[in-house]
C-alpha cells in the first residue's frame, strides 16, 4: 500500500471565527512496507497529517491517495493507534483486542472459533498472555499500549498510523517497547511481508531507531523541512544505539528542529 500526500494544505476554523493554517503545501510519499517516522516541533501539523491519512479529517486543498485511490473516510485498511490508546474502558483486554473482529467487517468471514484463536494469538504476540480478562484501568501504561497495538494487529490493517504511542511511558518502558514494536512489525522478516507504518514522535532518537525514512517537519504553518533516509542495518537493537551513524543522524535532525523547539519552549 503506497500512500501519496500531494500538496496538502489544511485550514482549521477557530471558535472566534478566524482560521488557522495547520499545514501548507505538504508533500511526501510512503512506500509499501516502509516504516516512516514524522518528527517535528509541537504545532507542525503531525497529528493533522496522520488524521488525514486515517480519513478522519479532509484536506482543505491537495490530495491524499492510497494505491492511487483518494482517501474519503476511515477504513479497515488503515489502522490508527491514538495518543491515549483509545481503549474501550468497559471491555477487557480480550474484548478490546477482539472488537474489530466482533463488530466490524474484518471479522465477518470468521466463525467464533477462528476469531477466538486469532485473539489469543495476538495477545500472546504482544506479550500479554494471562491478562486477557483484565480491564484497562487495571493495566499499566505499557500494557495499555500493547493492548492498543494488539487490537490493530488482530484485524490486520495494511497500514498502521501511530500517533506518539510511546509518549506517555517512562524512558525504560519506552526503550523496551520500541524494540517490541519493531519485533512485532517484523523487522526480522523480509521487507515484502512487513506492514506499512507511519509513526509520529517528538523524540528524535526514537525516530532514528525505528525508521526507514524520517520526515522532518517544521512550524509556521506546518510543512516538510527535510526527508532523511536512515541507513542503519536491520534488525536493530541495543547495538544500534551506540552506532556512531545513529548519533550522526540524531544530531543532523536535531540541528534542523532546534531553533523552532527552542522558540516553542521559551514562548
Amino acid at each position: 500500500m503506497t500512500i501519496e500526500i500531494s500538496n496538502v494544505t489544511k485550514w482549521f476554523a477557530l471558535p472566534d471565527g478566524s482560521e488557522a493554517q495547520a499545514l501548507a503545501d505538504t508533500s511526501f510519499s510512503v512506500a509499501d512496507g516502509e516504516f516512516v517516522v514524522i518528527v517535528g516541533p509541537s504545532g507542525c501539523g503531525k497529528t493533522t497529517i496522520l488524521n488525514m491519512m486515517a480519513g478522519l479529517i479532509m484536506p482543505t486543498a491537495g490530495a491524499i491517495t492510497i494505491d492511487g485511490r483518494p482517501i474519503d473516510g476511515p477504513g479497515i485498511d488503515r489502522g490508527v493507534m491514538f495518543q491515549d490508546y483509545a481503549l474501550f474502558p468497559w471491555r477487557s483486554v480480550e474484548g478490546n483486542v477482539g472488537f474489530a473482529l466482533e463488530h466490524g467487517p474484518a471479522g465477518a468471514a470468521m466463525d467464533e472459533a477462528a476469531r477466538a484463536r486469532r485473539i489469543t494469538a495476538t495477545i500472546a504476540l504482544v506479550g500479554l498472555k494471562g491478562s486477557e480478562h483484565k480491564y484497562p484501568h487495571q493495566l499499566s501504561g505499557g500494557m495499555r499500549q500493547r493492548v492498543a497495538f494488539a487490537r490493530l494487529l488482530a484485524y490486520g490493517p495494511k497500514v498502521l498510523l501511530m500517533d506518539e504511542p510511546l509518549a506517555a511511558l517512562d524512558a525504560q518502558t519506552r526503550t523496551i517497547l520500541q524494540e517490541e514494536l519493531l519485533r512485532v512489525w517484523g523487522q526480522a522478516l523480509p521487507a515484502a511481508e512487513r506492514r506499512t507504518v507511519v509513526f509520529i514522535t517528538h523524540a528524535i532518537d526514537e525516530a532514528v531507531f525505528l525508521a526507514d525514512r524520517i520526515i522532518v517537519m517544521g512550524n509556521g504553518p506546518g510543512h516538510v523541512r527535510d526527508i532523511v533516509a536512515v541507513d542503519l542495518p536491520r534488525p536493530r537493537g541495543d547495538a544500534t544505539r551506540v552506532d556512531p551513524r545513529f548519533q550522526e543522524l540524531v544530531q543532523k535532525i536535531w540541528s534542523q528542529i532546534k531553533n523552532e523547539a527552542y522558540r516553542a519552549a521559551t514562548a
Partner: protein
C-alpha cells in the same frame, strides 16, 4: 458502643420529646411514637400497608420502565446526532420545567382516576432526568473511541450500539437513579392529590391511603406509619438501582 451513641443521640432525644410533649399537650388525634409503632404493626399484619405499597410500586415500575424505554434511545440519538438534538431541544426544554404533578388534572381528564393516569404521570416525571442524563452520557463518550471504531470499519449504527451506548452507561445509571426517586415522589403526590380531590375514593396506593387516614381516621399515627413506609421504600429503591448498576459499572476505575 460509643460509636453508636452519637449518631443515635439526636434522634432518640427528638423521639422522646415528641412522645412526652405529645402525651401532655396533644389532642386525641395527636400522633405519638408509641402509637406509630402499634399502628405500624397492625397495618402491616392486616395486609393493608403491604398491598397499598405494592400497588404504588407497581405503578412506579411500569411508569419508570416506559420512561426508560423511551428516554434512553432518544437520549443516545440526541447526544450523538447534533441535528436531532438542536431540533428536539426546544420541546424538551419547554416541557421539562412543567412538573408532572401539574399535568395530573389533564391525566385524570384523559384516563380517569385510576392506574393508567398514575402510570402516565410517573412516566412523564421519570422521562426527563433519564433523558437529560443519557444525552450527557452520550456526549461524554471520548471522541477518540468513536474514531477508533470508525477506523475499524464500523457503520454508524454499530458505533451507536457498541461505543456510545456502553460509554454512556455510567451517566445513564445516574439518570435512572434520579428518575426512580422522582418517580416515587410523583406517584405519592399523584395518589395524594387524587385522593384529596375525589374525597378519598378511587386511586388506591399509599398516597391515597395517607389522605384517607387524614380525612377519616381518628388515629393519625397511621399517617406517620405511611410516611415512614414512603421513606423506607425510597431508600430501598435507591439502593436497588445502585446495586443493579454496580455490576454494569465494574469496569470503572474506583
Amino acid at each position: 458502643m460509643g460509636g453508636l451513641l452519637i449518631p443515635l443521640a439526636l434522634p432518640a432525644v427528638l423521639v422522646a420529646s415528641w412522645q412526652a410533649l405529645g402525651e401532655a399537650f396533644g389532642g386525641v388525634r395527636m400522633p405519638l411514637p408509641s402509637r406509630v409503632v402499634v399502628e405500624g404493626v397492625a397495618l402491616f399484619a392486616s395486609g393493608e400497608l403491604p398491598s397499598a405499597m405494592l400497588q404504588s410500586l407497581g405503578r412506579v415500575f411500569s411508569g419508570f420502565l416506559i420512561a426508560a424505554v423511551l428516554a434512553i434511545p432518544l437520549g443516545i440519538l440526541m447526544g450523538t446526532v447534533r441535528v436531532v438534538e438542536r431540533n428536539l431541544d426546544p420541546l424538551v426544554e419547554s416541557f421539562r420545567p412543567v412538573a408532572a404533578i401539574a399535568l395530573l388534572p389533564m391525566a385524570i381528564l384523559w384516563l380517569g382516576t385510576g392506574t393508567p393516569a398514575a402510570v402516565m404521570l410517573v412516566a412523564y416525571a421519570a422521562f426527563f432526568p433519564i433523558l437529560v442524563n443519557t444525552i450527557a452520557g452520550a456526549k461524554s463518550v471520548d471522541r477518540n473511541l468513536v474514531n477508533a471504531a470508525a477506523t475499524m470499519g464500523l457503520a454508524p449504527r454499530a458505533i451507536l450500539r457498541n461505543v456510545i451506548l456502553p460509554g454512556a452507561v455510567p451517566q445513564i445509571a445516574v439518570g435512572l437513579r434520579v428518575g426512580l426517586g422522582i418517580a416515587w415522589t410523583a406517584i405519592v403526590a399523584a395518589e395524594l392529590a387524587v385522593g384529596a380531590k375525589s374525597g378519598g375514593g378511587g386511586s388506591g396506593g399509599i398516597g391515597q391511603m395517607m389522605f384517607v387516614f387524614y380525612a377519616y381516621s381518628i388515629e393519625l399515627s397511621r399517617i406517620v406509619v405511611c410516611m415512614a413506609a414512603v421513606g423506607v421504600v425510597s431508600l430501598t429503591l435507591d439502593w436497588l438501582v445502585r446495586r443493579g448498576t454496580r455490576r454494569l459499572l465494574k469496569w470503572k476505575a474506583t
